[in-house]
Amino acid sequence: MKRVFVNEKWCLGCHLCEYNCAFANSGLTDMVKALKNKEIHSNIHVEGNENINFAVSCRHCKDPICVKSCISGALSVKDGAVCIDKNKCVGCFTCILVCPYGAISDNGNHAVQKCELCLQNSCAEPACVKGCPNKAIVFEERE
């Protein structure tokens, strides 16, 4: 299955992926309306220090501890991708407690959010990859 990977040598730390992610998952067609004066809740997070930057999003683990730990059955694996059913999620944050990548976050509305590889929105391919100006983020099959 194709997943999102980041080449930290190429990542500029520009945070554009965070904005593109939040926009892609906003359900809106106007980026300004979607993001202006709003708190950005993205599913990809740029981190780093003075030497290195890289973006982290869900690894779609083959043996996902978040799915095993979910108290409501809201997290599940669909065709290899770890998906969140926000309608079932009650926001207990047990998945945040167990994800070793810190890739699941509070959506600010009694539920969690995470990368679903833009399979659930209208983007068709991961928005973080599409918009990365230095092509540091890639969407590909790897072992």
Binding site: E47, G48, S72, K88, I96, C99, Y101, I104
Partner: protein
């Protein structure tokens, strides 16, 4: 072809089914449950009372799960006896289920201490099951005064669930603080304040001693009037099926790291079992949901004939009340790193160069990175602890670790 039988239909049971089916696609699996529902997320009962979920969304797996996994489910029946000689389980309707491998996933039951005059209380409930919850819901009205005995996870979640639906809510507990099993005094008092701000009254270091109709007499000499009583004092693992056949039990059914009991071909998982706790090094009842699933899955794989152990279970909890979240993991031992603000507390516990536990209240973002340090027993000298103690981040790890864990091309 084997015959698998699982007693219980909670999270551990589902883990067991998934574990078996990951190895053995064909053999017969029978699940027997005394509850009349397909599996549901048991901790969701308080969210049900709050109106944040409903019985449809509470389903832990879709209804099609059992047919897709070719599982025969017997609902509304209890297992009454295991016969290890004939390898069979007798149900309360006389049905006999034969097994090649048996998994006991019977969970726990509320512990109700002897209170003088408890029989005078008409509306009294436990808060463990969906049936308990539906019964409690039908007993309350907006004029109700509710007394909850027990300020642990169950009692307080019940209080949160009821808070907007009744007139008065009092929670009492013999312990001097709320959530005494997972939080220390300072964290507990932050949480208590949040609960009090939402109309819940507390009587701590105090508990009900005896009851009259509509009145509880407290240890302190005070009286509390109420019309609905919830008893959330504690739970006891359901061990009797196992102990009756001579399986070793302590507080729970004792299991090894492959989830085997001391009786051949019988496994025990979830809240009824007592297995190895990685963080304390002792055998403990770790009655938490992720543990139940992972134990169940491990048992299932072993039942299907593949050796696999689950040996890094840790005590961990994530719980929130009225928007304030608390997380705990491992043991609170060794040297402490602390951050405090008006809205939250972070406490990390470091022993012998490892993170052995933590407690967070308020900001819980990316806490799983800390949990992974505990569960993987990561040597803190191998990462930038000065960085990670302030903010859980992968930048604190060496690039080689990141390349492996993130699958990157660094």
């Amino acid at each position: 072809m084997k015959k698998y039988v699982i007693i219980g239909n909670g999270i551990a049971s589902i883990g067991c089914i998934d574990g078996i089916r990951s190895v053995d696609k064909d053999s017969e699996i029978t699940v027997v449950s005394k509850e009349n529902y397909n599996t549901y997320g048991r901790p969701l009962i308080s969210y049900y009372l709050q109106g944040r979920t409903d019985t449809e969304r509470m389903k832990y797996r879709p209804d099609s799960y059992y047919t897709e996994n070719r599982v025969s489910v017997i609902l509304g029946k209890s297992a009454v006896k295991i016969d290890k000689a004939s390898r069979s389980v007798l149900l309360d309707d006389g049905t006999l289920l034969e097994y090649d491998a048996l998994c006991i996933a019977t969970g726990s039951s509320p512990f109700v201490p002897k209170f003088e005059g408890l029989e005078n209380v008409e509306k009294k409930f436990s808060f463990m099951t969906l049936d308990d919850t539906l019964a409690l819901e039908s007993a309350i009205s907006e004029n109700s005064s509710v007394l909850i005995v027990g300020a642990g996870l169950i009692g307080l979640k019940c209080a949160e669930g009821l808070s907007k639906r009744v007139t008065a809510l009092t929670v009492c507990d013999l312990a001097p603080r709320v959530l005494s099993s997972i939080l220390d005094d300072e964290c507990a008092s932050l949480m208590q304040k949040r609960l009090e701000d939402n109309g819940i009254k507390f009587m701590l270091s105090d508990t009900a001693v005896s009851f009259e109709k509509g009145l509880a007499h407290m240890k302190s000499g005070k009286d509390v009037s109420f019309d609905v009583l919830v008893l959330a004092v504690g739970v006891r693992p359901n061990t009797v099926l196992a102990s009756n056949i001579g399986a070793l039990t302590d507080r729970g059914i004792l299991i090894d790291n492959n989830m085997r009991t001391s009786v051949q071909d019988i496994y025990a998982v979830g809240d009824c079992s007592q297995g190895y706790d990685f963080s304390s090094g002792e055998k403990k009842v770790l009655a938490i949901l992720p543990n139940a699933y992972m134990q169940g899955e491990c048992a299932g794989v072993n039942m299907a004939g593949i050796e696999r152990s689950f040996d890094n279970a840790v005590a961990m909890n994530s719980i929130g009340f009225f928007g304030l979240h608390a997380m705990s993991c491992g043991v609170y031992d060794g040297e402490m790193y602390e951050e405090k603000s008006e809205t939250g507390i972070k406490r990390l516990f470091i022993k012998n160069g490892y993170l052995c536990g933590f407690m967070l209240i308020g900001n819980t973002d990316r806490a799983g990175i800390y949990t992974s340090l505990v569960r993987n027993k990561t040597l803190l000298s191998e990462l930038d602890f000065e960085l990670i103690k302030k903010n859980p981040s992968l930048a604190a790890f060496c690039a080689d670790f990141r390349r492996k864990s993130l699958g990157g091309v660094v």
